[in-house]
Symmetry: C2
Subunit: 228 residues, 2 copies
C-alpha cells in the first residue's frame, strides 16, 4: 500500500499527448491508415507507451472516440433539457430542438473570441466515426454513447411533429442525421468545398446551423406522402 498513485503530471501529459495526436491522425488518415508508430513518433513518446496507457490499438481508438463524442452528446442533452424546460407542458419549437442536435457536433472546440470556427481535425473524425469507420469502435461503447441521445431526440422530434407516422419520423430523423454528418465530415475538405464553390476556411458553426436549420425544419414538417 506504499507509494500512492499520485496523479503524476508527466503520465497524464503522455496520455493526453497520445490522445491528441491519435485524434489528429485518425481524422486525417483513418484508423487503419494510421500506425501506432506514427502516433508515437509525432507525439514524441515511446511506442510502448500506448500499450502501457491503453492496452491495444483498439482500446486507444475507443478512448479517442469516447473523449470526442462524450462531451458532444452531453452538450446536446443539456441543450435539449433547457429547450424542454422552457417549453414546459407544450411541445418545444422544432427549430430549437434541431439546434440542440446539430450545434454541438459543429462546435466541438475551436472557439475564437465569441465565434466558434470549425476545428477541421475533430470535425473530420466525427464524420469518419459516424459514417465509415464505426466498425473499429466497440459496439457496446458506440451503443452506449448514442442510445440516450437518439431516444431523447426522437421523443422531442415526435412531440414537435404530432402528425407524422412513426415510420416517417424514423426516416426523416435518419435524413437529418445524414445531412448533419455529411456537413460535419466534408466541412474541412478543401477539394470538395472547391467543387461546391464553398470557402473551406473560416466556417463558423452558428452560420452553418443558420443555413441547415430552416432546410431541415421544412423537410421534417413536409406533409407526409401517402404512397404505400
Amino acid at each position: 500500500m506504499a507509494g500512492r498513485p499520485s496523479p503524476d503530471p508527466d503520465a497524464s501529459s503522455t496520455r493526453e499527448r497520445i490522445l491528441d495526436t491519435a485524434e489528429a491522425l485518425f481524422a486525417e488518415q483513418g484508423f487503419d491508415g494510421t500506425s501506432l508508430r506514427q502516433i508515437t513518433r509525432e507525439a514524441g513518446v515511446n511506442l510502448a507507451a500506448i500499450h502501457y496507457h491503453f492496452g491495444s490499438k483498439d482500446a486507444l481508438i475507443d478512448a479517442v472516440f469516447a473523449r470526442l463524442v462524450g462531451p458532444i452528446n452531453a452538450a446536446r442533452l443539456a441543450m435539449l433539457d433547457e429547450v424542454e424546460r422552457e417549453a414546459g407542458e407544450g411541445a418545444p419549437e422544432l427549430e430549437r430542438v434541431l439546434e440542440a442536435f446539430i450545434l454541438p457536433p459543429l462546435q466541438s472546440t475551436a472557439d475564437v473570441g465569441t465565434r466558434t470556427y470549425l476545428d477541421g481535425r475533430r470535425i473530420k473524425l466525427i464524420g469518419r466515426i459516424y459514417s465509415a469507420e464505426r466498425q473499429h469502435i466497440s459496439k457496446q461503447l458506440f451503443f452506449n454513447q448514442f442510445r440516450e441521445v437518439l431516444e431523447r431526440f426522437r421523443g422531442a422530434f415526435g412531440r414537435c411533429l404530432p402528425g407524422l407516422s412513426e415510420a416517417a419520423l424514423t426516416w426523416r430523423i435518419h435524413f437529418t442525421v445524414g445531412a448533419m454528418v455529411h456537413i460535419v465530415h466534408t466541412a474541412g475538405d478543401p477539394v470538395l468545398c472547391s467543387m461546391l464553390g464553398m470557402d473551406s476556411t473560416r466556417l463558423e458553426a452558428r452560420a452553418i446551423a443558420r443555413r441547415m436549420i430552416p432546410f431541415l425544419a421544412a423537410g421534417l414538417r413536409a406533409p407526409e406522402e401517402d404512397a404505400p
Copy 2:
C-alpha cells in the same frame, strides 16, 4: 505482330473476379483494411495477378471506383436529360430532378423482379467513397467523375428554385447530398438500422426515394433565411 491479343475470356474473368472481390472487401473493411492477399485469396487468383492487371493497389482502387461510379453518374445524367427534355423551355419539376439525382445510387444493381433492392455491398462502398475514403482515389479521377454531374444538377436545381441565392443553393445541395450519402451508406448496416428501429433487410430503392424526395424538396423550397 504474330499472336494478336485476342480478348482471352480467362483474362477478363480473372480481372473481373478481382474487381468483384475487391469491391466487396473494400466495402466491408475499407481500402486500408483490405490487403491484396485477402482479395486474391478470396477471388481464387494469384497475388501477382493484381499487379499484372492493374499495376498497383491504388490503381485497383481507382478501377473499382470507376466501375462503380461511372454507370451511376451516367444513369443520373440520362434521367436528367429526359426530365429536362420533357420540361422543354420551362423549369423542370423539383421532385423529378431530385429523383434523377438520388435514385441511381440507390439502385445500382440488385434487381429482383420488378423491384430493385439495395445491394448492401456496393451501396456501402459508395457511401465510403463519398464520405471517408476519398483520399485513396486519384483526385483527377474523382473530379472527372463528378464535375459534370454537379454542374448539370446545380443548374437544374437553380432553375427549379429561382428565388434562392447562389450561396443558399450551394448549401442546400450540400445538405441534399449529405442526406443521400448517409442513407446510401447506412442502408445495409444492421446495427444502425436496429438503433433507428428500421428493418435493414429488403430495403427497396424506390420506397426510400419516395420517403426522401418530399423531405428534400420541402427543405430545398424553404423560404430563405435572411440572417447575415
